[in-house]
Symmetry: C2
DNA sequence: CCTACCGATCGGTAGG
DNA sequence: CCTACCGATCGGTAGG
């Protein structure tokens, strides 16, 4: 008896429900877009009432922002983590590329990379949702640039790569997501893996 | 009196109206998306009633398809034409890149490249609208690949470029549109111009 | 090309 | 987390 009665973890059901909602929301958003996503469709998709969703998120904008946060966590775990586990520099650039391509290959989201779609969709809009997407994009670009800088510092890459290499790799990520989503052809992913390696001087 | 009374050209007003509608539709679509575009918003934007639009296009899908056709014509005139005017091979690849970047710089569409947005938006959807976007993408990829082939045939490019160069350039176009739309920074366009030239062995 | 209208769905709220 | 509801807007049609 010592510590008293059994207690369920406070709100654990709510936390789990919220996570399930957000996961479904992120998936739907890669097909319908962050704006095209509707509360009604999401509610139907997870077997809940619309007002049930409003109990978790006070507005569509809050839902969108929470969805972006969830997608970011997925991206951090599946893509960024592999890069951080590698040696900064060329090895990290290869690692993040392979992890990104594997993220696509596994079809984690039905519409390809969440942020590739979101950046193109929200790029010319005002508001907090756009700002959140821009922040992600800026952070990713900064991470890539840091790897390039490390590669240059280590003598793995020429200093001229500081100007554009991170941008180029980012562009190949966009192309990979767009092309793989369009065609479903795994060869696209192998092609991009080769392109990046070559660009880094790591293949014929 | 010879040829009789003054006659207005048959339906010329209707043709002009239709063109104006489609131009506005293409502009709105680069901000709201091809799906996010609504008949009501478009009608308001051009000062016409919703049913006035339905007189020109029987359904939203027809409007979307006609909008894509209009955007394709703009792209053909402003981007493709410059490439076809150049020597096939490296010169054509430089020409299409510069024309594409100028198309962005001029902000022909407020949301950047119409098709960059459309491909990412429609990639994971079914239907005729997606098919039309895929067709554009396939045609552009084929055009680029033809230029690469010509460059290889002329000895300007190594045969190894046949595998991926056209894909890489396409990726830089996507990155240019996304990044320029996000930041509005013209330096992005200069960067991509340099990246492509370097990739073609035409700059330091 | 218009007014007037349709059923359905939108984002969101009241009240429990 | 639900039912029941709100005004606004959706794509689309009738009839002119």
């Amino acid at each position: 008896m010592s510590t008293g009665q059994v207690r369920r973890a406070p709100r654990s059901d709510g936390v789990r429900t919220r996570a399930a909602i957000l996961r479904a929301s992120a998936e739907l958003a890669t097909v319908d877009g962050l704006e095209g996503l509707t509360i009604g469709e999401l509610a139907r998709h997870i077997g809940m009432s619309k007002s049930g969703l409003y109990a978790h998120f006070g507005s569509k904008e809050e839902l969108q922002l929470a969805t972006i946060e969830t997608a970011r966590q997925v991206f951090d775990e599946q893509v960024i983590a592999s890069a951080l586990a590698a040696e900064p520099g060329r090895a990290a650039l290869v690692a993040i590329t392979d992890a990104y391509l594997e993220h696509l290959r596994a079809r984690v989201f039905p519409g390809g990379c969440f942020f590739a779609g979101a950046v193109l969709e929200m790029g010319s809009r005002p508001g907090r949702v756009r700002d959140a997407v821009v922040t992600f994009q800026r952070d990713l670009a900064g991470l890539l640039q840091g790897f390039v800088q490390a590669g240059v510092d280590a003598g793995e890459l020429p200093p001229s790569d500081l100007a554009s290499l991170s941008f180029e790799i980012n562009g190949q990520f966009l192309a990979a997501s767009a092309s793989f989503t369009l065609t479903g052809e795994p060869a696209v992913l192998d092609l991009v893996a080769m392109v990046v390696r070559r660009r880094l001087g790591l293949a014929s």
